[in-house]
């Protein structure tokens, strides 16, 4: 049994227990302005359609049962009855037209409600990549910008504008509890407003088929109180934490000496690769590998030891490490709060 596999086994219970509530990725558990409006529209349309369906069924069942009988010769048509049925059918078609006209207006009004941005919008740039999310907090002051990955923090009760860009293939950003989805398309820039009414963790995942690991391209949105959000922003802007003990320092040296640093950035060190996610504060994020595993030293070690078993086909290569190196690197990454 390889050390990586043993570590993987130790991680599985974590994965099973991970996550917050059981309904943290659902259009029916709406926790943000746009999602709440959408849920109201969904309930309205589904309710009316259910009534329509039930009425059609009642009519059909009645039609079938009122005169069912054994085989008989084809019947003659009675012009007066035909005319009367014509009037009824025309009436039903008219009712159909009225209902769908109503739905069209309701849709239009909902779209208008959810796409009005506030004035003080916070803007975050999201890049979709195979199979993770690049996140960049934009602001008027370039010095206050910073990058992270796979996890977004937003202040509660504020409209947040997400600027969506596809870097390789098409992806789709969807956190159903906060808003509808919007695609990230190479060569185009899309926008979407998200908003959370209460602090909490909301999960989403890529909704447009994007290749082998489309299934494991999760994103987490954490809604903070304004104070917590400001604290989190300051922490994120800071460079990576210094090594606190010897094991961590050894891990840092291994990271810098191995191919890791060629793909990942850790601000404040010489690691400045841009192929993989920014790891400056990876230890502080709730999940690694785009929502795949809860962040612990164990899960980090399992991921580094065997990324292709945990997420087959992803772009992280297996970098051969001794068990000591693996322990040190995972300790180092876990320390990057």
């Amino acid at each position: 049994m390889s050390p990586g596999f043993r570590l993987l086994l130790s991680v599985i219970p974590f994965a099973l227990l991970g996550g917050c509530s059981s309904n943290w990725q659902s259009a029916l558990q709406a926790h943000g302005g746009p999602a709440i409006s959408l849920k109201q529209l969904i309930i309205l349309i589904v309710a009316i359609c259910s009534v329509v369906w039930a009425l059609v069924m009642v009519a059909m069942i009645h039609a079938l049962w009122r005169r069912r009988q054994a085989w008989r010769a084809p019947m003659e048509l009675i012009p007066r009855r035909e005319r009367r049925m014509g009037v009824i059918v025309t009436g039903c078609v008219g009712a159909t037209a009225v209902i769908i006209a109503g739905f069209t207006v309701a849709s239009f009004l909902t779209t208008r409600t959810i796409s009005v941005p506030g004035k003080d919008d916070l803007t975050i740039r999201i890049r979709g990549l195979q199979w993770w999310w690049g996140v960049e907090y934009l602001g008027p002051d370039p010095a206050r910008r910073f990058e992270t990955a796979n996890e977004i923090h937003i202040p509660v009760q504020r409209n947040v504008r997400l600027v969506l860009e596809g870097d390789d293939v098409i992806h789709s950003f969807w956190v159903p509890s906060l808003a509808g989805k919007q695609d990230l398309i190479p060569g185009r820039i899309n926008e979407i407003i998200v908003r959370a009414e209460h602090p909490g963790t909301y999960r989403g995942q890529c909704a447009e088929f994007c290749g082998l690991q489309h299934a494991h391209m999760g994103i987490v949105v954490i809604a903070d109180t304004p104070e917590d959000f400001a604290k989190w922003v300051d922490a994120q802007r800071a460079p990576a934490a210094q090594a606190s003990d010897e094991a961590v320092a050894a891990g840092r040296d291994t990271f810098m000496g191995k191919p890791c640093a060629g793909c990942h950035t850790i601000r404040g060190t010489q690691a400045a690769g841009t192929t993989g996610p920014d790891l400056t504060h990876v230890g502080g994020r709730a999940f690694i590998a785009a929502g795949l595993l809860a962040t612990t030293q164990g899960s980090l070690a399992a991921w580094i030891a065997d990324p292709q078993t945990l997420k087959p086909g992803n772009n992280m290569p297996l970098v051969p490490l001794t068990p000591d190196e693996l322990r040190a690197v995972s300790a180092y990454l876990a320390s990057l709060k």
């Binding site: 099973l16 999602a35 349309i45 769908i100 909902t110 969506l164 926008e191 299934a215 086909g313």
Partner: protein, 637 residues
Amino acid sequence: MTETIARAQILDTALERPRLTSQLAQTWKTESGLWGALATVDHKIIGRRYITTAFVFLALGGVLAILMRLQLASPEARVIGPDRYNQIFTMHGANMMFLFAVPVMEAMGVYLVPLMLGTRNIAFPRLNAFSYWIFLAGGLVLWISFALDMGPDVGWFAYVPLSGPQYAPGKRADIWAQMITFTEVAALAVAVEIVVTVFKQRAPGMSLDRIPLFVWAMLVTSFVVIMAMPAIMIASTSLILDRLIGTHFYNPAEGGDVLLWQHLFWFFGHPEVYIIFLPAVGMVSTMVATFSRRPVFGYLALVMALIATGILAFGLWVHHMFTTGLPRLGESFFTASSMAIAVPAGIQIFCWIATLWDGRPVFKTPLLFVIGFIVTFVMGGLTGVMVASVPFDTQVHDTYFVVAHFHYVLIGGAVFPLLGAVYYWFPKFTGRMMSERLGRWAFWLIFIGFHCTFFPMHVLGLEGMPRRIYTYQPDLPWHGLNLFVSASAAVLAAGFIVFFIDVFVSARSGNPAGDNPWDAPTLEWATSSPPPAYNFAHIPVVGSANPLWEQQGSLDVANGLHTDRREIVITTLTTAEPQARESSPQNSIWPLFAAIATSIMLVWSIFSPWAVVWGSIPVAITLVGWFWPKGTPEDEA
């Protein structure tokens, strides 16, 4: 003098009934043996072949569906890896759309339209043979490449850039694109044949308002095919060009556009749904009339609804792109047009219910499937209205809600009527009845299995489960429903197995059917079951929309056709007055050779652009053989 007598001898007016039929049988026959089978241009033999092949693809696609349900039954299952899973769901979609649904509907038309119109063969019968061979080749290319682990893995929609040269190395995406070419050529050929058959070969007296509704549906479908297919041909060809010779149609870095693909694909892809659905509607109208024991209510309204659906089909494609960030006003327009399709759909549903209401419904298996269709399709139509709303769609697009929706409209809206149609027309195809007892078992298993499989998917979608994922994490609350769905899929599969058993058993030992076992009103029942090679000993003359009911079995006939060569009656477009005698081509092996040459060229062109140059030479040679005058009476007429 002797010449006139000899000439008169071979007209059908000069022959007694037994000699007439034996001479017609001789003229129209398919030679026995392999060569005869390969060279036949009989629309009934080709139609039966087409239908059978399409059902084989249905069974194969069903196996793929079961494999996916095994993988999705539990979180992070390792039954199938992501690479194979992506191939499987791509194959399932492409197979069901291009190798089952469209071909089977066109094949029903190939078999039934000439019979319902009272003619002896479809127009361009050699093209018809060619169409089947090309379809078969396309299906084989797709399935053989899947067996070789080279199956396409980019989704049946093959969105760029994922299917482009950078992100889809290897030949998988090319195989998808070329399979499209095969099936589109086959579909276009049949569409052209049906349009010409309906326009020019109707029985004398069958004016536009007497055309059976199934034929109307096939006519509208054929026009939709002719107008929709060029868009996907352009799309798949330009994708191959991007991949093979480095053009940049879809490369944003070089001025190409990723969304152009989606516009082209869905400009075809949405009408595609109606290409499948409209023939099913025609089948329902036919069966509702027969089993209600009265002509269908609202013939004119139903015809108008078919045409309106066919036209509206081209104004909806953007509703597949509501999350791509198109301008809001444009999206609202497409919301309105997508919702508007509910009007013709509603007209049809209400007319059928009115027919049942006023009629005396008889609960044979075909009617059960029609009822299952109404229950299911109305639901699918209503969820269609839901996804037509832009804001609603932003929550359910690309989720299992949409998977549920389109299985409700495709299985509920097209496969249920198709299965009913098989029970209905099986006696005509084979001369034997299918079993009512097995039919009921098949219906209830399929109906219950279907709803238990697909209804929970609506909920899964709203609970945030995206489509096209090969697995899901255990911390997401989807396990229970997915397990239930997978178990229900087994019930659905069992229903189909019962259906196939019924088909096999009945084909061998079903009760003899007689000419018109359902006492149905349309012309295909005016000849024997199965029909002779020449379809009708005399071309019938029609005086009403339901000739076998209103003319009480005593149809007038048209005389004066040659019996020593294949002749059909050409009639005028609107009133179907006899216009001319026209010869109908004899059997020929050349369509098969042409199809083989075309297939070689198309497969070769996956690997080298020069295939189009060198590969076209054998195609040209086979076409010369195909059209070479052979001095037969047909050629001289």
